[in-house]
Symmetry: C2
Subunit: 245 residues, 2 copies
């Protein structure tokens, strides 16, 4: 197997970074690598807002649920789904703007994710560590104000980049048989496979250097889906022009 | 710059593939590379349905808007956002299921995209070509039936993988100044930068081996956002349990 695939398979989030800055030339190359990712219908519906201002960083760290690495990683940026940049041209060319359909939301959100993940793969290949920050959706309105996001643009997630100051274990993933199906979706054998996986996850928490709550995967995700997760998102998005028509 | 970053920057979709199959060991490694990507709250909210049946492939190629490479690429799979697998455990542990919030939709959709893009980066590093197939959302209901997708699972996009039988030019991307902002979102200088970019895109279509319509970026995206794009998506998703609460 090539070393790059081995590197991808060993991904883990990094939450402690050294003070070493990322060379501007490298940072630019990482963004260009992200930009080269596929984009639906050539929309390029994503904008990165890079935050270097310490005060802004500290405020966002707080809004994201007190995640200190948002403030102290070498680089922190927010990936936004952006339908405004393209939408501007509807008016420009005298066309009606209809870019508030569920499909447009999907396209722009997926564009932001594909761009970010190619940038992440590039960053890790350069020896950097990364951590996605979904926590910015805890307070998307305040984050949006800080970033002066206009209508048609929403913050999907943040991303911390920097040189790792920790070397955490790789977190085990679901068995291949559970996430990869042949010809059709089915759940045959999943219950047994997930039971064994739950044990592996408990073991991971019991033995990893960072310690942890030792809760199995199935217990963790059952909590996530039994909660009204970020119930403010629909109204926030509607206010930004994402109305899921 | 490392060769992997150079490779990422030279990405282009491949729509003509050789007959060479992908070795099963390599295919499995690619899926594992995708699986290792970050996943929000450890949800792992994505399931891949790999289609090898020729009849099913031909039918999906048709449903996706007659894209022959869906039928003849070495591998074709559909990435699904999956809240069912995790949701099963709410019932199992006697918890209410609340996984139908907009936030849950975002998490699962982004999970599918991150997984796919890491798999794509791995595939390209192994000399494979790829093409995303958003066209499966033209007829998501029929695609879902073919794949026997249950409630809580929706097909986000398809992906063709295979050894390239063509070498298309890299499609130019928006200037960095347009998609990367510092500290705050703004559009200063974008109009001029996009005008120059529009010329580059016209030039790309005029000179590329595949020919093309020669329409600028701003014209293309103004069409996309002036159309009621896949207006069936909201009702389709609602019927699958994604109700954007």
């Amino acid at each position: 197997m090539n070393p790059f695939i081995e590197m991808l398979k060993s991904h883990r989030s990094i939450r402690k970074f050294t003070d070493e800055p990322i060379a501007p030339e490298l940072f630019e190359e990482l963004v260009r690598a992200g930009q080269a990712a596929a984009t639906s219908s050539f929309l390029q519906g994503s904008t990165i807002v890079r935050i270097t201002d310490a005060g802004k960083r500290a405020r966002i760290a707080e809004l994201a649920g007190n995640q200190p690495y948002v403030a102290n990683a070498a680089e922190f940026m927010i990936f936004c789904a952006d339908l405004k940049r393209a939408g501007n041209w509807c008016r420009e060319y005298g066309k009606p703007f209809e870019g508030d359909y569920t499909e447009h939301f999907i396209i722009a959100t997926v564009d932001a994710a594909l761009m970010a993940q190619s940038m992440v793969c590039a960053a890790e290949s350069a020896g950097l560590g990364i951590c996605y920050i979904g926590g910015i959706r805890n307070n998307p309105g305040q984050v949006g104000e800080l970033l002066e996001l206009p209508k048609g643009v929403y913050p999907v997630f943040g991303l911390c980049l920097g040189y790792p100051a920790q070397d955490p274990e790789v977190k085990p993933r679901l068995p291949l048989s559970v996430i990869l199906k042949q010809e059709r979706y089915h759940e045959e054998g999943d219950r047994e496979a997930i039971a064994a996986y739950d044990e592996a996850v408990r073991e991971y928490y019991a033995t990893r250097s960072g310690g942890g709550h030792g809760i199995s995967w199935s217990e963790q995700v059952s909590v996530l889906l039994s909660e009204k997760s970020r119930p403010h998102m629909r109204d926030f998005l509607a206010g930004r022009g994402f109305t899921f028509k």
